[in-house]
């Protein structure tokens, strides 16, 4: 039977868990950062050295982590595209614009466990030689911005952020940048334009691939909130261990946002691919079934930009017709929005 698997949301909803740094530290917070900062340089057989940064990036690649922002692109691969030879600074931006209709997972992390995100960010920045990073948070989350600013302040006070982090000589600053109400600011190049103080019109690719010509025309990494949180866990447990979660091609956990006419809407963290749409809708663990008197009409599995699946529809997955109907489709999808339109109550 499919069930929840809590990795990111392990503590967030525990009674008494608070977003302050002391609480986070009590739950093992920033241990992964300490670990990352002290990864010893490895001497290779050919005499070359492999830095801590390279090792973390390799581990993230090994973990098979895919982006949680929508496109599901390999995080390790994305980092590998970063132009590290340009001599220009490398920027990292946490995409906390969460405006895809039907998604409400990043809000939970930011409000309940901001330090997890910040730890993931610091590690990711360290691994990519980033000295300046931003959290682009949607304007409609003023509280979230305040919580993040408070958390950043706490982290700075504990020397987890700022100059010479934990005495390692590594400097990093993270700032919160607020949007002001625009879905398109979630698209990474639109986000970058917005952060540059321009109207957030997405850039054309080519030539403006963020990994090469991103923020201020410098190499830039844009990652989703949940993606960055996962980095913390990858460093914590090791990429190979992380890869055991989920399915081989799609690892780790996913926070599924379930909304619409189900008995128990909400967010559920599951191992990727370990639950079908049907289970999410009907299992008492998850949606608990449709509201009384409703009939399933359609499911929107990945936000407004994804295909609307009609009830009973047979669908193709990677060109292989698997003949299962919508409710049996395994969940590989990124953020999951299930809206169940109802037909009028049966007469």
């Amino acid at each position: 039977m499919a069930q929840e698997y809590k990795l990111i949301l392990k503590h967030a909803d525990e009674p008494g868990y608070t977003p302050d740094i002391e609480c986070y530290l009590r739950h093992g917070g920033y241990d992964s950062l300490r670990k990352a900062l002290t990864v010893p340089v490895v001497e290779l057989s050919d005499g070359k050295k492999k830095s801590a940064q390279e090792q973390i990036r390799e581990d993230v690649m090994k973990s098979g982590l895919r982006g949680r922002g929508g496109a599901g692109f390999s995080c390790g691969l994305k980092w590998s595209f970063v132009d590290r030879r340009s001599g220009k600074p490398i920027y990292l931006i946490c995409n906390a614009d969460e405006s895809e209709p039907g998604t409400f997972k990043d809000r939970q992390i930011i409000h309940k466990d901001p330090h997890q995100l910040i730890e993931g960010m610091i590690i990711s920045c360290f691994a990519n030689d980033v000295k300046l990073a931003y959290i682009y948070i949607r304007g409609e989350m003023p509280k979230g911005a305040k919580i993040l600013n408070q958390a950043l302040k706490e982290a700075r006070a504990k020397n987890l952020l700022g100059k010479n982090i934990l005495g390692t000589g590594y400097d990093l600053e993270i700032h919160v940048h607020r949007g002001a109400g625009a879905y398109i600011c979630g698209e990474e190049t639109g986000l970058i334009e917005s952060l540059e103080g321009k109207r957030p019109y997405p850039r054309i690719k080519p030539p403006y691939f963020p990994a090469v010509l991103g923020l201020y025309m410098c190499p830039t990494i844009v990652n989703n909130v949940e993606t960055l949180c996962n980095v913390k866990h990858i460093v914590g447990m090791g990429g190979a261990e992380f890869a055991k979660l989920g399915t081989p091609n799609n690892t780790g956990t996913r926070i599924v946002s379930l909304s619409g006419q189900v008995k128990r809407p909400g967010y559920y963290e599951i191992e990727v691919g370990k639950a079908t749409l049907g289970q999410l809708i009907h299992d008492p663990e998850f949606g608990g079934g449709l509201l009384d008197g409703r009939k399933l009409k359609a499911v929107i599995p990945g936000g407004s930009s994804s295909k609307v699946l009609k009830a009973g529809e047979k669908f193709k997955l990677k060109r292989k017709v698997d003949g299962k109907d919508v409710e049996e489709r395994p969940i590989f999808l990124i953020f999951l929005m299930i809206s169940i339109r109802f037909s009028k109550r049966a007469p």
């Binding site: 600074p89 969460e98 405006s99 895809e100 209709p101 039907g102 998604t103 409400f104 990043d106 809000r107 300046l132 949607r138 304007g139 409609e140 989350m141 003023p142 509280k143 700032h175 940048h177 607020r178 949007g179 002001a180 109400g181 625009a182 879905y183 917005s194 952060l195 540059e196 103080g197 321009k198 109207r199 957030p200 201020y216 946002s257 379930l258 909304s259 619409g260 006419q261 809407p265 909400g266 967010y267 929107i300 407004s304 929005m337 809206s339 169940i340 339109r341």
Partner: protein
């Protein structure tokens, strides 16, 4: 009308500018800071911001008119945002919006931000607020409210001074 920015706000703004290697990047944050202080962003404030950042006023005006959160005229003291996107719509947000508007004597069918005559409340429909799991949701000022029934809405409005 001469426009002036109080010293405290200017200090805050100067600090915000240091967050960015390129001054223009601070535009949005400056507009937020100014709006938080004055309630809205006047043409004079746009000019002031542009001068502060070494930009042309049109560069800032472009942003002001793009982002729906910025106000070009003073809104009500309490701003109600009701989500109208799919999950909330399924969860009854249109009825909620109508309820709020009727209670405040506003036209629920009118387009855009509606402000009560006494300038106390403004109500608008907005897009998904990332709270779909507890539809319908609304914001009152900076506060986010989930699963808002008519009764709960009345309490929220009643709590606004």
């Amino acid at each position: 009308m001469s426009f002036s920015i109080p010293a405290g706000l200017e200090a805050e703004i100067d600090e915000l500018i240091t967050h960015y290697p390129v001054r223009r990047s601070a535009s949005l944050m400056l507009l937020h800071a100014i709006q938080e202080h004055f309630g809205w962003v006047s043409p004079e404030a746009v000019q002031w911001t542009a001068a502060k950042l070494g930009l042309e006023p049109i560069n800032v005006h472009e942003l002001l008119t793009f982002y729906p959160m910025f106000r070009q005229a003073a809104p009500g003291r309490h701003q109600i945002k009701v989500c109208r996107t799919l999950s909330c719509a399924l969860g009854g947000s249109h009825a909620l919006h109508r309820h709020v508007c009727e209670r405040l004597g506003l036209d629920a069918g009118a387009h855009g931000l509606q402000t009560t005559k006494d300038g106390k409340f403004s109500v608008e429909f907005v897009e998904c607020l990332a709270g779909c799991g507890s539809a319908p949701v609304m914001m009152c000022g900076d506060d986010f409210h989930e699963g808002v029934s008519g009764k709960k809405a009345d309490e929220i409005l009643g709590g606004c001074k």
